[in-house]
């Protein structure tokens, strides 16, 4: 049987009757030359509504990180179009993309990517400083964010003095520094133990409740299960979409206690 018979859905946000915040059409990203051509992302259509939490799952190498980079303007598609908040990304220059990332996108990475020589609060204020914020306003915002991620007592610690979970919370706070329209997280819990994963999940949940749009690339089912919507990727394409409804409330059914 051929690929066309695969289960595929048009991922449109129409049912929500809200214009999507992020929109991708016919996205394709190719690497290498003619013979060794690799299609990291292969003809992906995607809409993400404001306030939605979308999880993208799939085995490693399926192209999910590349897709995230395309959505955040870290990379440009070979073909296809990307919009973020009504602005078209794929035709932008490097400089325009940088400006857009600065104002509208917050990145969270698996490897945290904090600056080793900067303290927690200095790391968080960096995007605001890059955006031309006054040092005082940037510092105030960074302190607020530290409080939001419950790290106020670690403001002057260097990353090397923080645990993995704490580093990731600092990185999330940094992603929020310029109040981005969308936060893009690439395997945010990939380097974390289960306790720290739970901390990060709680933080994402609070952000979600506050209306933050989130796109999370992960291979951790726990994160995927808490998203509003889950898409699975394989070989650069979407193969499945699940809209996860609210829970049944009957938790006892999860365990084998027949009371």
């Amino acid at each position: 049987m051929s690929d066309t018979e695969r289960h595929r859905t048009q991922y449109t946000g129409a049912e929500r009757e809200i214009s999507p915040l992020v929109r991708g059409r016919g996205l394709r990203k190719e690497y290498g030359s003619a013979e060794g051509l690799v299609r990291a992302v292969d003809d992906v259509d995607l809409d993400i509504a404001p306030g939605e939490t979308l999880a993208i799952m799939g085995p490693s190498g399926c192209g999910k990180s590349t897709l995230l980079h395309l959505l955040g303007g870290l990379d440009r598609p070979s073909t296809g179009q990307v919009w973020l908040g009504g602005q078209r990304l794929d035709t932008m220059s490097e400089r325009e993309l940088a400006r857009l990332r600065r104002s509208s996108v917050g990145f969270v990475f698996q490897a945290f990517h904090l600056m080793d020589e900067l303290t927690a609060v200095e790391n968080i204020e960096l995007p605001a400083l890059l955006a031309g914020c006054s040092p005082r306003a940037a510092r105030r915002r960074a302190r607020d964010l530290l409080e939001q991620v419950e790290m106020s007592d670690r403001a002057t610690h260097l990353p090397s003095a923080l645990s993995g979970g704490q580093r990731q919370r600092v990185a999330i706070a940094r992603a929020l520094a310029n109040e981005p329209a969308v936060v893009l997280a690439d395997e945010p819990t990939g380097n974390l133990d289960s306790g720290a994963t739970l901390e990060v999940l709680r933080l994402f949940d609070r952000l979600h409740a506050a209306g933050q749009t989130l796109v999370i690339v992960t291979h951790d089912e726990r994160i995927a299960a808490t998203a509003d919507r889950l898409v699975s990727m394989r070989d650069g394409a979407f193969v499945d979409e699940t809209r996860l409804a609210g829970g049944t409330g009957n938790l006892s059914s999860l365990i084998g206690i027949e009371a």
């Binding site: 289960s194 739970l198 089912e221 995927a224 299960a225 049944t248 006892s252 206690i257």
Partner: protein
Amino acid sequence: MQQEVVLAMLAKEPSHGYELRARLGAALGPLGEALNGGQIYVTLARLEKAGLVRTARVEDGGAEAERPERKVYALTSAGEERVTEWLAEVSWPKPDLAEFHLKLVTAAAAHLADPISIVDAQRRELLRRLRDAQRAAMTEVAQSDGALLLEGVVLRLQADLRWLEACEATWTDRRSTR
């Protein structure tokens, strides 16, 4: 409810049925919320009949007229023995995967259904359960008894989901090679 759990809970000290229920609820956390309280009394009655539990004393309901009487249960020596045996047991719930596996095999063989859609449906169900468990876990205090149990549930569901992924990959391969 497993009889041994009730017996083991009595090992601490002679207790009322409702005390046992509260302790059970604390240990299970959110997963114990929907527990049917009446079941405890039925189990206790059974255990008493079997000679593993005895009534230590009966307290009067007193001013709280709703409670008819308050039986305080204690372990008999046979009951204590049973608890000791239970603690030493290494039995473990066996993963019941064969049924689902056979469901896929038979469905495919008889062309009754697409094994992949069966997997998909199953996956959705497990994801829903995982979502419930994960949401509950996020509200729990870290390190609490309830959180620990929820973590176990979450990890089992994750393992099951990964197996479903493997099922999907294999059945997709089989379909395309045939």
